[in-house]
C-alpha cells in the first residue's frame, strides 16, 4: 500500500466508494416499498456497479501489476479498501437509504463536476458519465427526503433519525491528505475542502424543505480512507468475496 502513487490511491478511494454503494443499493432488490421504487433502486445500484468497474479498472492500469477491476473488487483484504465509512453503514430503513443517497449524491455532483475538467482524460471521461447518473440520483433522493421529512409524523421521525445516524459520517468525505493536496495543486483533482461549503448549502436546502434540522455536531467518524473501517465492511466482504475466496481457481 505504501508503494501506491497518490493517483492510484485516489482512484481506489473513488472506486471503493462506488463499489460499496453499489453493494448496499443492490440489497434493496426485491425489498423496495413499492415495485416502482424497487426498479429505481436497482437502477442506482447498476449505475454504481458500472462506476466501480471503470474506476477500479483504471486503478488496475495505474498499478500495472496485472490486476483487473474484479481482482481489486473481490480479492483485497479488508484494510486495503479505502471507501468512506458512510457507504458501508447498513440500511436501517428506506429513510436511511434516501437520506444517505441525497447526502452522497450532492457530494458526488460537486466532485464529479469538478473532476470532469481534469486534464487526466480517464478521470474526466469517467466523471462525465458519473455526473449524468448522479444528477438523477440526487433529484430522486432529494424528492424522497422532502416527502418523508414533511410526510407523516412517523416518516418525519424516521428521517430525522436517519440524518442523526448519518451526519457524523459526512465529515470524512471532505478529508484530505498531503498527497491529495499535491494532486489538487497540480490541477489533476479538485480541492475537496473547497466543496464543503457548496455541499452544505445544497444539503441544507433539501433538509429545510424536508423540515429537518441539521444535527449540531463537530466530531466526525473517520478512518475508511486509510483502511480502518466500521464492523460492517467485514460482513460485506464475507458475502461479496464468498465465491472468489471459496473457489480461488475458478473463473466466473
Amino acid at each position: 500500500m505504501n508503494n501506491q502513487t497518490p493517483l492510484l490511491t485516489y482512484c481506489l478511494r473513488l472506486g471503493d466508494n462506488a463499489l460499496i454503494q453499489s453493494y448496499r443499493l443492490s440489497e434493496w432488490c426485491s425489498n423496495g416499498p413499492i415495485l416502482e421504487e424497487d426498479l429505481a433502486l436497482t437502477n442506482f445500484a447498476l449505475d454504481m456497479t458500472g462506476r466501480a468497474d471503470l474506476l477500479l479498472a483504471y486503478a488496475a492500469t495505474l498499478e500495472g501489476k496485472g490486476q483487473t477491476s474484479d481482482s481489486l473488487a473481490y480479492r483485497r483484504p479488508e484494510k486495503e479498501y479505502l471507501n468512506c465509512l458512510i457507504h458501508e453503514l447498513p440500511d436501517e430503513d428506506f429513510a436511511f437509504t434516501m437520506v444517505r443517497l441525497m447526502l452522497t449524491s450532492a457530494y458526488d455532483m460537486l466532485l464529479y463536476s469538478a473532476l470532469e475538467k481534469s486534464p487526466n482524460e480517464n478521470l474526466a471521461a469517467i466523471a462525465a458519465k458519473a455526473i449524468k447518473e448522479t444528477r438523477y440520483h440526487l433529484a430522486h433522493a432529494a424528492g424522497w427526503v422532502e416527502r418523508l421529512g414533511d410526510g407523516t409524523a412517523e416518516s418525519n421521525s424516521r428521517t430525522m433519525q436517519a440524518l442523526t445516524m448519518l451526519w457524523p459520517f459526512t465529515g470524512e468525505m471532505f478529508e484530505t491528505d498531503s498527497a491529495e493536496q499535491q494532486l489538487a495543486a497540480d490541477g489533476i483533482i479538485p480541492n475537496i475542502t473547497a466543496l464543503k461549503e457548496p455541499w452544505m448549502e445544497k444539503a441544507a436546502q433539501v433538509l429545510k424543505s424536508a423540515t429537518l434540522e441539521i444535527p449540531a455536531l463537530k466530531t466526525w467518524q473517520t478512518g475508511g480512507r486509510t483502511g480502518r473501517h466500521t464492523e460492517n465492511l467485514g460482513h460485506i466482504l464475507c458475502e461479496m468475496q464468498y465465491l472468489q475466496r471459496a473457489y480461488p481457481d475458478a473463473t466466473w
Partner: protein, 96 residues
C-alpha cells in the same frame, strides 16, 4: 391503519426519438407528478427507448365507448373525397 392504495395510477406516453409521436407505453403508480415521471423513466426507458415522457393521471383520460363505435367512426368511412387518391391527375402532371 389506512388502506393500502399502492398509490394512484398514471398513464405513460414515451417519445422514442425527437419529432416522433408520443406513444402509450403503459402505466405506473406514484403519489405525485414528479414521482410519476421518475417511475415512468425507470420502468419504460431502461433500454434507451425514450427521449421524452408524458405522464397523465389515469382517471383524467376519457375513452370512447365501444358501443358507440359505429356512430363515432363509421360515418368517416365513405368520405373518400378526403383522400388524394380520389382525384384524377391529368396525364403527365407531377405530384407536388
Amino acid at each position: 391503519m389506512t388502506q393500502d392504495t399502492q398509490l394512484r395510477s398514471w398513464e405513460v406516453f414515451t417519445q422514442t426519438r425527437s419529432g416522433a409521436n408520443y406513444i402509450h407505453a403503459g402505466s405506473v403508480h406514484a403519489s405525485d407528478r414528479n414521482m410519476a415521471l421518475q417511475n415512468a423513466r425507470d420502468t419504460y426507458t431502461r433500454r434507451g427507448e425514450g427521449t421524452s415522457i408524458w405522464v397523465v393521471p389515469t382517471d383524467a383520460i376519457t375513452a370512447s365507448d365501444p358501443n358507440e363505435k359505429e356512430m363515432f367512426f363509421d360515418p368517416a368511412n365513405d368520405k373518400i373525397y378526403r383522400l388524394p387518391t380520389f382525384y384524377t391527375m391529368p396525364e403527365g402532371a407531377k405530384a407536388i
